[in-house]
């Protein structure tokens, strides 16, 4: 007869997992993906962006499983993403091709193509709408029908899929520097880990998948005090971008052979930072430098904060942590930061015993 030690671990874990399921279901409500997709647009956008995975359905599934916790949902999607082989890279996407839904510039009163307010929380009063308590599906359908009628009267037939970029106007005037198009293959941070100093393509990828709160906080720090950058939003646009993939069977990569695989909704921001530049004649001039932010879905704060951090990291400055690429890029990832913090909950009794031994020795 073998000796049986106390074995509690496995059973305790099973019970804990059951408990989790119980908490999710105890009120007897089962959320449908459609409800999440329909009513939790912003959460889905945030989760897709931080996960680096564009799928509203998968995001809805993850949100349901995670009971609405963004960090858990992102965790689920990232882990799922690890099982997907990278089979294609898309063709370069030009944001001029965006089918624009919202577009504003704070630099100019009027911009070519016009300011388009589109969908935004910015113009609402943040008062809890207690009427929502009474909202029914019938009300919703009724409202939608009226809204459709209203829009039908609208005669504005503007083409929203080819709006000029606001910054091009400044570029033509020579107020912002022009650069040759850089056609180097971007470094893929999911294929090769970061090495310092980083390339801009690496920085932008890490920033765009950064945790919304972390990116916002660091961007805010740079704005408020650490480096005290004062950007103006040159253009913020939200809309859908078509994605094409080259035919794998043709050597010649022609536009017409590419496959359209769908569209993604993104927020894109170009912010302007005044900067002093040295001119050929020894004179100094003020020019604008650009910060670039982009992320999946509609998440304007994150995109703007990203553009600030992009600028910060372009002009590295050891004085400010927000301008230090190791500081920013190594600490804003949701999965990494939440994971390492949560690992403190793991037992550490071996390391603690070891430390205890050292502490006792020093007391001798």
């Amino acid at each position: 007869m073998g000796y049986v030690a106390v074995k509690g671990g496995i059973q305790a874990i099973e019970e804990s997992i059951k408990r989790l399921k119980y908490e999710r279901l105890k009120k007897g409500t089962v959320l449908k993906f459609q409800q999440i997709e329909g009513g939790m647009r912003c959460l889905i956008d945030q989760v897709m962006s931080e996960s680096s995975l564009y799928s509203e359905t998968l995001a809805a599934m993850a949100i349901k499983q995670a009971e609405g916790s963004p960090e858990e949902a992102v965790f689920l999607l990232r882990a799922y993403r690890s099982t997907l082989p990278r089979k294609h890279y898309s063709r370069t996407v030009q944001s001029e091709d965006m089918s624009v839904e919202r577009r504003i510039s704070s630099s100019f009163k009027e911009i070519p193509g016009g300011q388009i307010l589109g969908t935004a929380n910015d113009y609402t009063h943040r008062l809890i709408d207690f009427d929502l308590n009474e909202e029914t599906e019938h009300d919703a359908l009724e409202w939608l029908r009226e809204y459709a009628l209203e829009r039908g009267v609208d005669n504005d037939q503007a083409d929203l899929s080819n709006l000029p970029k606001t910054l091009d106007y400044l570029r033509e005037e020579g107020l912002i520097p022009t650069f040759e198009i850089n056609s180097d293959e971007p470094d893929d941070v999911t294929k090769e880990s970061l090495h310092f100093p980083t390339s801009r393509s690496q920085r932008l990828q890490i920033l765009t998948r950064g945790q919304t709160g972390a990116v916002t906080s660091l961007g805010y720090a740079a704005l408020r005090s650490y480096g005290a950058l004062h950007p103006t939003v040159g253009e913020l646009r939200i809309g859908k971008l078509p994605i094409y993939v080259d035919s794998p069977f043709q050597d010649q990569k022609e536009d017409e052979d590419a496959y359209y695989i769908g569209e993604i909704k993104v927020t894109e921001v170009e912010t302007l930072f005044p900067a002093e530049v040295q001119k050929g004649n020894g004179e100094k001039e003020i020019e604008f430098e650009i910060g670039y932010g982009i992320c999946y879905g509609q998440n304007e704060t994150k995109a703007i904060a990203m553009s600030i951090l992009d600028r910060c990291l372009e002009t590295a400055n050891p004085e400010y942590p927000t301008h230090n690429e190791e500081f920013v890029l190594l600490h804003i990832d949701s999965v990494e930061s939440t994971g390492f913090i949560s690992h403190l909950k793991l037992p550490h009794y071996v390391t603690f015993q070891s430390k205890l031994d050292s502490v006792r020795k020093t007391k001798k």
């Binding site: 882990a79 880990s193 994971g339 793991l346 550490h348 603690f352 031994d357």
Partner: protein, 281 residues
């Protein structure tokens, strides 16, 4: 919408990429090879580096043992085992000698490892110079130039302040007379087991995206001074309250009723094995 996961979770391309980094690590003992660490179904900091190594290496014939803090039953060990068996269907064991792959957090088993076995250690902080130098770019240079004053300085400071080296776990070690390595937070007690190990030892840091290795029969020397030698945790005159084992790493326990301190083997499977032998004999 339902999707089946591949054998060992990853797609084959990802496994191959991780194995390539592992081969490089074996070829340059103690050198931290960067790799494109994937997000895993367990949290960063909970052993994703070790898990990726195990999943990239595991075959259908392998027998797996997973321990955490010396215990096969620890929550994290159970979780990792569950994930690996769920995606591979391979056999698991608690017996050190039976396993082909042993994934561990914070311990090297008491039973000596044998040739052909692979020990995978989970690493939270792979950079032994990080406290001395926060920048990754700078520590990379220091390793390249074999400039390890910082590692010794940390120990010197401890001696000045406390009269003894006060590293707990994770006491730095020189591998193959070239690279200083963080042995992962194993107690100092386990450091000597790294030296001339018959088994291949792989160390994976998922969050920090590094893999490094101690190939079999490699010299691993814990850092020490000429007049301050490296010392393991002392359990003098202490023994396991269950199996009576001495000269093993012991957990310190407090008896609820008597308030007395007693000790037990930290390596639970080792303890159980001894108890089984006793009751059989």
């Amino acid at each position: 919408m339902r999707i089946e996961y591949n054998f060992a979770f990853f797609d084959e391309g990802s496994k191959r990429e991780i194995r390539r980094a592992t081969l490089k690590a074996v070829a340059i003992p103690g050198y931290q090879v960067p790799f494109a660490s994937r997000e895993m179904p367990i949290a960063r900091g909970w052993g994703t580096g070790g898990l990726q190594l195990t999943l990239s290496l595991v075959g259908k014939e392998d027998i797996l043992k997973v321990i955490d803090q010396g215990s096969d039953e620890s929550v994290n060990a159970v979780n990792i085992k569950k994930l690996i068996t769920k995606t591979t269907g391979i056999k698991v064991t608690d017996e050190t000698s039976e396993a082909t792959i042993i994934q561990s957090r914070h311990r090297i088993p008491e039973i000596p490892l044998q040739a052909g076995q692979i020990l995978v250690l989970q690493v939270p902080l792979p950079e032994p110079l990080r406290y001395y130098e926060p920048s990754e770019l700078e520590t990379k240079k220091l390793h390249a130039e074999q400039e390890y004053s910082g590692a010794w300085l940390m120990l010197f400071e401890q001696i000045m302040n406390y009269g003894t080296m006060s590293t707990g776990a994770d006491h730095p070690a020189m591998v193959h007379d070239r690279y200083v390595m963080a042995p992962s937070p194993i107690p100092r007690f386990d450091n000597p087991k790294l030296n001339h190990s018959q088994a291949l030892i792989l160390l994976g840091a998922g969050r920090e995206k590094k893999v490094y290795a101690v190939p079999p029969y490699t010299r691993v020397e814990s850092l020490a001074f000429e007049d301050f030698s490296f010392e393991v945790e002392g359990f003098k005159n202490k023994y396991c309250g269950l199996c009576g084992a001495k000269e093993v790493f012991l957990d310190e326990m407090l008896d609820d009723l008597t308030g007395e301190t007693f000790y037990q083997c930290n390596d639970t499977s080792y303890c159980l094995q001894r108890l089984n032998q006793k009751s059989a004999g």
